[in-house]
Subunit: 195 residues, 2 copies
Amino acid sequence: MARKTGSHSEITGPRVRAEAQRLFARHGFAAVSMRQIAAAVGVQAGALYLYTPDKETLLFQLLETHMKELLAAWQAEPRGQGPLEALEAFVRFHIRYNGERPEVVFLSYMELRNLGPENFAAIEALRRAYETELETILKAGQAAGMILVPDTKLATMAIIAMLTGVNTWFREGGRLGRAAVEDIYWDMVRKAVGA
Amino acid sequence: MARKTGSHSEITGPRVRAEAQRLFARHGFAAVSMRQIAAAVGVQAGALYLYTPDKETLLFQLLETHMKELLAAWQAEPRGQGPLEALEAFVRFHIRYNGERPEVVFLSYMELRNLGPENFAAIEALRRAYETELETILKAGQAAGMILVPDTKLATMAIIAMLTGVNTWFREGGRLGRAAVEDIYWDMVRKAVGA
DNA sequence: GTCTATACACCGATAGAC
DNA sequence: GTCTATCGGTGTATAGAC
């Protein structure tokens, strides 16, 4: 039975976050009003404040959830024994995982400046933790003589930028499928680190 | 003699663009008001409309000017004879040129969605022209057997993403100087394309 | 839990005086 | 060329009814 009003807390909360994510990604955080989010959810603007104390916190929770899930997913990702296998796993994981959720990945790179200092620092710390995962692999490979890069920190940043860039041009149904893109990027990364 | 009012057209126009660029880069296009820009310039909000028909056009002109200057600067850049020398010139040029104007480069990547369809298309065309410059080099190198990449288009996107990413972490006075960064990235790019 | 109504500030853009 | 004043609209967030 449809009804216009009533208790929907368990449904509305996730819907608010989903619509906010979609709209923020599409138009930008500052360009989206709470009224627009409410309209997309199908409630009045005031009702949003049952689920978030304010607009910035809504953004922060989207980003924090994403970063924590990203780290957890990488921890759970199967990877081989050596540094080279780990590097290949990272490359394929990053392309695949980010490719599956372009909206929130986009937000994570574009809307950090709309966070206050504490919230910003919290997301930055999670991002650094993720970068450290890759740098640790590169250092191990370097130590084992299986990788040769001039600087592991710069190689880390270069590889992540390169992989994240896939989201800016990849389109489902385009010339290349996801698997082919993974293969090609792994080939370039492997060569770039002298493996 | 200082005076509060008078004719300053030749000075105010550039100042409006400079302050808009600074504020847009710092806070985001949608988050900056015309009143803020006016205050930074030292005029009243209404006076801005002597220099731009509206806010979006102000953004567009910043981006268009930047992209045209980027293309012109690359055309004027000295480069060697072969594809490998041209690739090295491109890598070093991109890092150096973008590193010198981080604000407008940031805008060019972040604020495209605030343009209307025609303005968006115009900037996209300029960006594609720049990407084509690199892809042409890669194709020539591939044809000459001096470069081996699985896909020149993907290699183009990967290299540009990787190089542009430098701006996200590079800080003047950090561990590495600009020249060292150029050297390191050129080393990684050279290896990535199998040269 | 959601609604209606609203407080209060700010928005982009324009008109007309000087 | 710049100012002051202002239009019509929208912003986030809250109060109180149900």
